[in-house]
C-alpha cells in the first residue's frame, strides 16, 4: 500500500527537511514543492516554517503561493501548519512592525510580554481543549512538546483553539478548524508523541482521500 501524497510547501524558509523526514518515517510520499499543480494534486498539505513571519509572507507572495494555500483550505484538503505555518494562518501578526497574514483563522499573533524569557524555547506541556479531535488520538493529556517561538497566537474565537500551553501566559498552542490543524510546537522535534500527532494527521488524510 502506498502512503498518502503530502506536499510540504516550500517557500524557501524553515526547516523543511526534518518535517519531511518525520512524515517519510511514517510512510508518507513527501513532495517538497512550490509548484501550484503539485500542491493542488496532493492528498494533504503541510505548511512548515521557522524564522520571521513578515519575511515568510513576502516569500509566499513572491512565489504566488498564498492563493494555492488559500484554495487548498477552501477545497477542504487536509492541512497541517507547524510553528510559523500556524502563525501565517492568522489575520495579522505584530512581528516586523505589523504584517497582514493569510486570514484563514480570525485572530492575531502577538509578542510575548516583557518579563518572560524569549524565545519560549524547550519542552512544555499541552492541555487538550479538543481531546476528541482525531489528531490527538492516543496523545495523553499533559504530553510534552518542543517549542521555539517569540510570538504566540491569539485566536478571536475560542472554538478554534485545540490546545493551550502555560508559559506564565496561557496561550493557544494548537488550532483546529474544519480541515485545518496547526501547532505552535514542532511535532517533528518532539520525539515519539510528536510522531504520533503526524501519524494521526496522515490517517485523517487517508480517510479523506
Amino acid at each position: 500500500m502506498s502512503g498518502p501524497n503530502i506536499a510540504i510547501i516550500n517557500y524557501g524558509a524553515g526547516n523543511l527537511r526534518s518535517v519531511a523526514k518525520a512524515l517519510e518515517s511514517l510512510g508518507a510520499n513527501v513532495h517538497v514543492t512550490a509548484d501550484p499543480a503539485e500542491i493542488a494534486a496532493a492528498d494533504g498539505l503541510v505548511l512548515p516554517g521557522q524564522g520571521a513571519c513578515d519575511s515568510a509572507m513576502v516569500a509566499l507572495e513572491a512565489q504566488s503561493l498564498t492563493e494555492s494555500v488559500k484554495r487548498a483550505i477552501v477545497d477542504e484538503k487536509p492541512f497541517f501548519g507547524v510553528c510559523l505555518g500556524l502563525q501565517l494562518l492568522f489575520d495579522y501578526t505584530e512581528e516586523g512592525g505589523g504584517t497582514e497574514c493569510l486570514g484563514v483563522i480570525p485572530g492575531k499573533v502577538r509578542k510575548f510580554p516583557p518579563g518572560l524569557k524569549v524565545p519560549h524555547m524547550g519542552w512544555n506541556t499541552i492541555e487538550l481543549l479538543q481531546p476528541d479531535h482525531p489528531v490527538f488520538e492516543d496523545v495523553p493529556e499533559g504530553s510534552h512538546f518542543y517549542f521555539v517561538h517569540s510570538y504566540y497566537p491569539d485566536p478571536e474565537s475560542p472554538e478554534s483553539t485545540a490546545a493551550v500551553t502555560d508559559y506564565g501566559l496561557r496561550f493557544c498552542c494548537a488550532v483546529a478548524q474544519g480541515n485545518v490543524v496547526a501547532t505552535q510546537f514542532h511535532p517533528e522535534k518532539s520525539g515519539p508523541v510528536g510522531l504520533r500527532l503526524y501519524a494521526n494527521f496522515l490517517r485523517m488524510v487517508r480517510s479523506m482521500a
Binding site: 524565545p119 517561538h149 491569539d154
Partner: protein, 270 residues
C-alpha cells in the same frame, strides 16, 4: 479573547538536559580542559541512543572544523536528522551565513557560533535576520581572569585546537551585546571547569542569567546530578549540557532527570 497571565514565571517549561558530542574526524571524542581527546564513540549511534534515553536536545561540535572535517560533519548531521526527532544544534568552525545555511539544510535546528561572532559580530545579526533568532546560538567560552574582584571572565576563541586565544572581551558584556544583535540562546562554557567534573561555574551562570533575556545553557564541569541541580537552581540556567558523565556512563540521563525531579526541577519525563 485575550490570553491571561497565570503567573510571572516560566510555569511549565521544563529544564533541558543536553548531551554534547564533540566530533573529530567523524568520531565523538572527549577531552579535559579542551585538550587530550579520547575516543567516545560513533556520533550517529550515540545520538540515537541518547534520543531513546530521554535527551531533550543534542549538541554537536565539530572540533576539527577543517574543510575535510566539514563535509564529514555535514554527513553526520544529515544521518542523525534521518532518525532522531529531537532538536539538534551544531557548532564549530561556522564562519558565514552560507555555512549556517548548509548546516540547517543538513538537518540542524540551531547553529552555534563563537570565534566567527567575536571576529565579526554582524554575523549574528545576519544569521538572525535570515533564519530567525531561535536558530542562532552564541557559544561563549569564558575563562576567569585571575586577580579580579569582583570576579570577571574573559571570552576565549579558537578553543577547538588548544586552550584558545585571549580576546580581552568581558564575557558578560559580550553576551549582552550578542543578544542585542539577535542571538536566541547562549551556551556558556566555563573553560576553567570543562572536563574537570568538579561542577559548573555557578557564579558565571548567575551573572549571565541576570543580564540576558534569552535561554542560558550551562556547559563545562558537570560531574554528577547535584552539579546539574546547582546550575539550574542557583545558576538559574535553562538547560544543563554535559559530555563525559553521559559518554562514559557515569550517570544516565534518566538518573540525572530523576534526581532533578526529586529536587523540584521541572523536567520532561521519559
Amino acid at each position: 479573547m485575550p490570553s491571561r497571565f497565570t503567573s510571572g514565571c516560566n510555569a511549565m517549561l521544563t529544564k533541558r538536559i543536553i548531551p554534547c558530542l564533540d566530533v573529530k574526524r567523524g568520531r565523538v571524542v572527549k577531552g579535559v580542559r579542551f585538550l587530550d581527546h579520547r575516543d567516545a564513540g560513533d556520533p550517529v549511534e550515540m545520538a540515537s541512543m541518547y534520543n531513546e534515553a530521554g535527551a531533550d536536545e543534542l549538541v554537536f561540535y565539530d572540533i576539527t572544523a577543517s574543510s575535510d572535517g566539514r563535509s564529514i560533519m555535514l554527513d553526520v548531521v544529515s544521518q542523525v536528522a534521518e532518525q532522531v526527532f529531537i532538536p539538534l544544534a551544531v557548532g564549530g568552525g561556522l564562519r558565514s551565513v552560507e555555512d549556517m545555511h548548509t548546516m540547517l539544510l543538513a538537518g540542524a535546528d540551531k547553529v552555534s557560533i563563537n570565534t566567527a561572532a567575536v571576529e565579526n559580530p554582524d554575523l549574528i545579526r545576519q544569521g538572525a535576520d535570515r533564519f530567525g533568532s531561535q536558530c542562532i546560538v552564541l557559544g561563549l567560552d569564558a575563562m576567569r581572569l585571575p586577580g579580579t574582584d569582583p570576579v570577571r571572565w574573559e571570552v576565549r576563541v579558537r578553543t577547538g585546537a588548544d586552550g584558545g586565544h585571549t580576546t580581552h572581551l568581558d564575557a558578560i558584556e559580550w553576551a549582552a551585546r550578542a543578544v542585542e544583535l539577535g542571538a536566541g540562546e547562549i551556551v556558556v562554557n566555563s573553560m576553567d571547569a570543562d572536563g574537570t567534573r568538579a561542577g559548573y561555574d555557578i557564579e558565571l551562570l548567575r551573572r549571565l542569567s541576570e543580564v540576558v533575556t534569552v535561554p542560558v545553557v550551562a556547559s563545562g564541569g558537570a560531574g554528577n546530578p547535584e552539579h546539574m541541580l546547582h546550575a539550574l537552581q542557583e545558576g538559574r540556567a535553562d538547560a544543563g549540557l554535559a559530555a563525559s558523565i553521559f559518554h562514559y556512563g557515569t550517570y544516565s540521563i534518566a538518573e540525572v532527570k530523576a534526581y532533578l525531579s526529586e529536587h523540584g526541577v521541572p523536567i520532561r519525563p521519559m
